[in-house]
Each structure stands twice: as C-alpha cells, then as structure tokens.
Symmetry: C2
Subunit: 361 residues, 2 copies
C-alpha cells in the first residue's frame, strides 16, 4: 500500500534517521568544523564516551553493545525506532540509601502538613515520622508508604504538586553527603545516558518511585523529558475549578504499581516495545531486565551492585545490609544475573568517580 508506506516515511524517527544520515554526509563535506562545539558531536569526537568508568567487562559490554547496535549490517544492529533504553532510578541513577529520595520528600511534607492534622501525632505511620523514628520508617511496609504518599501527594492539582516537588528538589539536602539530593546522581550513569542518546537511543526512566515526583526534576537532572518518565502512579481526576478552568486533581488511589512485573507491563503500556538495553539494581528490576532480554533483537541487561561502603553504601549479599528493604538485592538476583549473562557493574571496581561533586574536593 503506497499511502501506508509513505505515511511511515513521515514518522519523526524516520525523519530523525534521515537527518542523522544527512548530518554525517554534511560532516563528510567538511562542514564539521562549524558544529564542533555542539554536544551532539560527542559520539564522533570523544575518545572515551564513559570517562568515569574504569576499563573492565562492564564498560566493555556497554561499548560493544552500542557499537554493534548502531552498525548497519551487524547481526546485532538495532533499528533507530527500536533504540529504547530503560533505567531504574533509585540506586541506579541516584543514591537510594538510607531512604528513597521520594520518601524523604514525603516525610518533609508530613512534617509541613502536620499542624493541619493533629490526629497524625498518635496514628502510625504518621506518628513514626513525626517522632523521627528512623528505625520504624526503615521497615515501613509498601502499604505504609502508600498511605504516606496518598496523604502528601494527593488532593491537589498536578501543577500544584509539581511546584511543591520542584521546591523540594531545589533545596533539600542529604545529611550524609551534605549535598542536594539531586546532586547525588551517579556521574558514570549520566555519561551512559548521554552516550546512548548520542547514538540515537531514547532514554526512559522506569522507576518504582512516583512518576509525577520524578518528572519534577528529571529533565534538569538527567535530561529526560516528562514523556519518558514511567513510574508508579496514582489516579488523577478531571474536573473544573470554580472559574470553569479544567483541572486534573491527584487522587489518593494507586493506579500503576511500577515494580517487579509491573515494570515490564508498564513498559509495554507506555512504549509498546521491549527495551534494547536496560539498567537496574534491585529485585524490583529483575522483570524489566528479563523482559529486555526476552526478545529476539539484540539486547543488553545491566545490573548495578552497591558494594562501595567507602564512597557510598554496600548492601545486598556482599554488603552489611543483606535484608534491606531499600533497594533489595538478594543472592538469588546475583545468581540470576550470572545465569542470564547480564552485565554486572561493581560500583567499587567499575566506577572511577561516583559523583560530579567529587571533582570539587
């Protein structure tokens, strides 16, 4: 059908691919110099796209995969339309210990809202938060967190929530590192994000954390736009303000639980394609990595292992916190990674530098 195929030629990605080809020709025509300052040239110009990574199996696996995936004619070639890269966030792109960033945000919000809720002083889980009982908080169940998230993230419009969350992320500091939470992003992973994008991949966050919360800072921190943030969601409700303006109000009702199997389900829901490359770091990411690896096309699954007690935290079987509920990483997951031939990243051995702010020291 001619009409159909001509319509297909009009996809943005088709256009992207042809633009890219054109740019390469343009560069071949020695016009390259005038573009030299452009970030997009990094993949052509830089010797090492991953300078914060030590040489080793993990780094090589990523470089090899991208080289093959972008080489037409390679039996591991991935067409540009299928260059989907998915990343867990907590513990994969930024620090998740001792509590997820969003949990800290929720705790800060409970404290800010407490004067309007005198009943919280005597009712758990609020009571534990208001009395700074970190031990109790560390063992909150998923239901406890749902309740806290519902109380702090609902009952306002999506725009109002975005503002509250953006204020928090611009100011809240982690006491251990004494840096903004948004500065606790892993420099090696920022390099991977940029490297993949330079090679035509679209980078998605696929997080158990709240979608709207992550969206409030993801573009500034990771260069990932709202439409590429998939997270756990609560329902919204369409309605009208008193003046007739349409509104979307956040409801305290869980909609998509983007953990475990939910990650594969939601990748299908949002993208409708399997990731070609996926990064995770805990049992909640296992199904996403399996799903990336389950297709017939070339793929790479990468599992990040927190084994650096000196520069960050060590947890999972090799660390001091084998049973942590924050970023659970079991021996079974480690075994599965070996069995499935996932690339395993040791933060201690594979990452030369963890944070951008280390340079300043």
């Amino acid at each position: 059908m001619d009409r159909a195929s001509s319509a297909a030629n009009h996809t943005e990605l088709g256009a992207f691919a042809s633009r890219r080809a054109l740019l390469k020709s343009a560069a071949g025509l020695a016009l390259g110099a005038s573009f030299a300052g452009e970030r997009w040239t990094r993949s052509f110009a830089a010797d090492d796209p991953l300078p914060s990574w030590n040489d080793g199996q993990a780094k090589q696996a990523i470089l090899d995969f991208v080289a093959a995936a972008t080489k037409e004619g390679s039996d591991r070639f991935v067409p540009i339309t299928d260059r989907i890269a998915t990343f867990d966030q907590d513990g994969c792109l930024w620090v998740e210990h001792p509590l997820y960033g969003q949990a800290v945000f929720a705790i800060d919000r409970i404290k800010a809202l407490a004067p309007d809720h005198p009943e919280w002083k005597t009712n758990d889980p609020y009571k534990a938060i208001l009395s700074d009982d970190t031990k109790a908080m560390a063992s909150f169940s998923e239901q406890d967190w749902e309740q806290v998230i519902g109380a702090t993230h609902a009952g306002m419009t999506v725009e109002d929530f975005q503002k509250v969350a953006a204020e928090w992320s611009a100011t809240a500091r982690d006491p251990h590192f004494d840096h903004l939470y948004t500065e606790l992003v892993y420099q090696p992973m920022l390099e991977v994000l940029a490297y993949l994008r330079d090679n035509g991949f679209r980078t998605y966050i696929v997080s158990g954390g709240g979608q709207e919360f992550i969206r409030s800072y993801a573009e500034g921190v990771y260069g990932i736009p709202p439409e590429q943030v998939i997270g756990t969601t609560f329902e919204t409700k369409y309605g009208y303000a008193a003046d007739g303006t349409p509104t979307l109000t956040k409801e305290p009702k869980l909609q998509l639980n983007n953990n475990n199997g939910g990650k594969a389900e939601d990748i299908n829901l949002f993208i409708g394609k399997r990731p070609a490359i996926a990064f995770g770091n805990s049992t909640g990411d296992q199904q996403m990595l399996e799903w990336a690896n389950g297709g017939e096309r070339a793929h790479l699954a990468v599992l990040i292992y927190h084994d650096d007690a000196e520069r960050e935290y060590a947890y999972g079987p090799a660390g001091g916190l084998p049973d942590t509920k924050v970023g659970t990483f079991t021996q079974a997951l480690h075994d599965e990674a070996k069995k499935q031939k996932w690339a395993v990243v040791s933060m201690k051995k594979d990452w030369r530098q963890l944070f951008a702010f280390e340079k300043e020291k």
Copy 2:
C-alpha cells in the same frame, strides 16, 4: 547548576532542534538539491502543505497556528519540547460509522471463536453478534462492548494479539466503501499529521479505542509509532511460558478508560504536558480539547463535524443520526466549540477530498 543544564542539553529534543538548525544551515549552503527527494523537505518546498483542504477558516486556523508556533519571537511560539499534537482516531483520522473499526474486528473475532464457545449462541451480547443483529449491536452499552472486547482481546500474549490484529487490518474490508478499513483514513488528516511533524510536532493518537489494537496498524497507516498511541487499555500480566521465557498476557480487566475526562488524565499520565494542538470529533473528545485549551501557552483545538452524507456520513445535530452512540456529537458540543473558539471543520465544506482512493475513481 551546570551539570543539570548540560544534562538538559542532551535531551533528544534538544538534539533534534540543533540538527534541524544545522539542516537549515546546510540547505542555506546550497546543499539542498541533493536532499530534494526527501519527504522532510516538504515544509520548505511545498506551496500548500494541506492540498486536500479547501481554503477557509478551518484550514487558515491550522496554518496560522503552526506559523506562529514555529516562529521564534512570536508571542504564540511553542518550544519544540512542547510541540505535542493529539488526535482522536475514530471519526477523526478514519471512518467510524456504522460501527467502530475495532467493534468490527471484535465481531469478526467472536464469529471466529464461536465454535469453542457454544454458550454464546444463547447469551447476549454474543447472541446478537452471532445472529448479525446489527440493530442490537448498534445500541450495545459500554459494558456490552467491554465484555466483547474482554472475550476477544484477552487470554493471549501481547505479541499473539498483535499478530491477530495485524492479520485483520491487512484483510478486513468495509462493505459500504468496498475498501480496507485501513484505507478509510481521511486524506486531509494525513496531510495535517505530516505537516505538523514537518514542523517539529510529535503526533499522538489519543483514542477511546483499544491501544494495542491501534498500535497494530498505526505506524503503517498514520506514521505514528507505538509509543505515541494512547488508548483504552486492559491490564496485562507478567509471567513465564513453560520454557521460562517471560510473557505479558492480556487480561480481561479494564485498566484505563480513555474517554471523556480519561483523555486528559491519560495525556497527563503518558506525556505529562498539555497538547499544543488537539483534534477531536465527538463528546468523548471534549475534555481533551478543553485540556489543550486550558494552558497558558499558545494552543489550538479543532473539532471535526461529520456533515457529508454524500461522501461519508452525516451525524450529530445536522445529520440524520442526532442520537448515534457511535461518535456522539450533541448540539451542546457544537455550542461549546463556538463558546471556546475552537476551529470547527465541516467535512463537506472544508475537505476537497476525503480518501486517497477517490483519486482512483
């Protein structure tokens, strides 16, 4: 924060914008000739990007909006990251009468699966389908359709469903027009899709129809990739086949009802941005059009009116079917469009040609 802004420069859209700028310079350097055959040059080369539209208010509203939205410095300029265009599908991109394409698909599937379900012969809604009772089918409730969709779209993997749906869309013919259903797409709307994409808009389908069904043909028919198809969804369930391969199985449980307020809710869920331009044709699209119009940025809402009984169908207040359940269009919606200053498209007056196959006649 330097790191943050440098990350932002790495978004695909940032890259897209700089590539586009580069291409314009390249064209300025008289390299244009070698690209002349490329579709992407349409926006530079063609005198009229909407040749199937008659000159008139509706066409002019679209041309004016795009000209202003893409002109830096214009007070109606829309940054490339916000160039989101959303389209209802049934009755907006393709014919929806006398029954939605997906309803025909479901009916065909019920008939194909009937030998395995002897009980359907005596139970509604299946009975009505198996006895070709079109009158009963035309007044099926939403619940009836949910039941039919559940029986025909669930209990198989997403890949298997895609195959079944793709087979149908490659062969099923509409008896009235004697063409494939996938040929009953409106040529003027294909032009709008291409025109918007040529101007940096990303085009999304936002349909009350089933997401997975639409994805099975949307790329070929409209040039819209799976990740830009938002539709009504049923849950999927992650699991494993007997050989250990991961699977996603479609469940008969409604997940997102992408109609009415659900369209605005799901646009927020999937995209996290308001559409800059939105197209609809029935009461189920009203909230999407309102949501597009509710923001502060420049926007355009377009309502398509089926008033061409000769070339297609006439329904709504001006047509012979004021009470149709398929593409309901009330007088109230028409009044709302006037009040809100939406652009109203009369298919009869504004569209010179409806279908690509008309040329063949």
